[in-house]
């Protein structure tokens, strides 16, 4: 028989924080994936909320294009506050 589908697991460690990718696991359906994720990834209170998504639904950028793909952000230093030259005596900015 085929493997159960693969799921990616995302965990919110505490209220106010993002869900962060924790790993993956196999489960027959979403409900089982959430229960298994609880047992596999939160045995020591690592989470208060779990998201699961079947791995086949994740679309990713291509690591081979990484350079060209992220390049538009490379030469835009003016997007950073330190780019602007302001007098020393200026406060609260």
């Amino acid at each position: 028989m085929k493997n159960w589908p693969l799921w990616e697991v995302f965990i919110r460690s505490k209220q106010g924080l993002n869900h962060i990718h924790a790993g993956s696991l196999h489960a027959a359906d979403a409900e089982m994936a959430i229960e298994n994720a609880r047992d596999v990834y939160t045995r020591r209170n690592e989470g208060i909320s779990i998201w699961v998504v079947e791995s086949k639904y994740i679309h990713a950028s291509n690591p081979e294009d990484q350079g060209a793909f992220f390049d538009p952000a490379n030469n835009k230093v003016y997007r950073h506050p330190t780019f602007y030259e302001l007098p020393e005596q200026l406060k609260h900015m």
């Binding site: 493997n3 359906d29 990713a60």
Partner: protein, 315 residues
């Protein structure tokens, strides 16, 4: 980047301590080495549950039973983190399990020894998990991202495994003479298999150099074994038991303990499948897999039915 070949670029990333992620280019042998090593590691975690499971129903107190259960459950979890890490390299879970069941894939030979007394539960936590920790801490910095992340989770959990084992032994050493003898007997049986866990001597470990160059490994087998012996001998003194090695002695000049030669014939015999419990362990794994087939199938059938029902309801 200058025009260099892809293999040099790969090595340059490794040298710069940049992690390799699943979809990055990697040499075929790097991938194969990792698949073999991580799978072997995953198998060791789940086969390692068996010798300890032997004592769950006979734990002397509820506190010990809860700790043992929690430890064994962790080992199952470790297996799952690691199987997920291997799968990122393009192998399927059931292929990995097939290789375990057919005997093609190996697991740590330590788990082919029997657990004869309750003191074995303490000794395994202290020595076997202790040796595993020594091995695993440098693996947290392994060049392959998913393996390194799995190892970080695992190492966080391992510390309690070793401490509960050592505490168990300390308690027994405060008990009757019979209990103290039981601890020493467990030490006598587990010491040599435990220090064999680091694998063959460096001179007989032909792949070490490449694995170190790729930063899969950070220390050689003999370096890790020496570290383990040095810290563990002191821990044995606190327990008040003897290390079963007549050649063990502090070497002032080296700043390390000298110790005797491992019986490598026995080691290879166990690796090749002829240890005291190899057959029993594999049979238990296969049995769990085969007897669980109907559960896996039923869960799939139920999931199918549910999703069809949702589709009709939505239509």
């Amino acid at each position: 980047m200058k025009e260099t070949n892809i293999e040099d670029q790969f090595q340059a990333k490794i040298d710069a301590e940049i992690k390799i992620e699943p979809k990055d280019w990697m040499p075929d042998t790097y991938r194969k080495t990792l698949i073999r090593q991580i799978a072997q590691h995953a198998h060791s975690e789940i086969v390692g549950m068996l010798p300890e499971a032997n004592w769950i129903t006979r734990a002397p107190t509820l506190r010990r039973k809860a700790a043992l259960l929690a430890k064994i459950q962790d080992e199952g979890g470790h297996g799952l983190y690691l199987y997920s890490a291997v799968e990122t390299l393009g192998v399927e879970r059931d292929e990995l399990l097939d290789e375990l069941h057919s005997g093609k894939a190996k697991y740590s030979s330590i788990f082919n020894y029997p657990t004869l007394t309750w003191a074995d539960m303490g000794t395994i936590g202290w020595l076997v998990d202790g040796a595993a920790i020594m091995n695993q801490i440098p693996l947290c910095r392994c060049s392959y991202g998913p393996y390194s992340r799995a190892m970080i989770r695992i190492c966080k959990e391992e510390s309690f495994h070793q401490r509960q084992g050592y505490e168990l032994l300390l308690t027994m050493m405060k008990g009757t003479d019979a209990q103290k003898r039981m601890v020493q007997d467990a030490m006598n049986r587990w010491w040599w298999p435990a220090i064999s866990m680091f694998g063959p001597n460096d001179a007989d470990s032909p792949h070490t150099a490449q694995s170190m160059k790729w930063k899969i490994k950070r220390f050689t087998n003999d370096e890790l074994r020496q570290k383990f012996v040095d810290v563990t001998v002191e821990q044995a003194k606190i327990l008040g038991i003897t290390v079963p090695d007549p050649d063990l002695k502090w070497n002032e000049e080296r700043g390390h303990y000298d110790f005797g030669q491992i019986n490598w014939d026995e080691f290879w015999e166990v690796v090749k499948g002829d240890g005291p419990c190899n057959r029993e362990r594999l049979a238990a794994r296969k049995n769990a897999w085969d007897e669980g087939a109907w559960v896996r199938e039923a869960a799939s059938a139920y999931a199918d039915k549910k999703s069809k029902r949702q589709k009709t309801a939505a239509a």
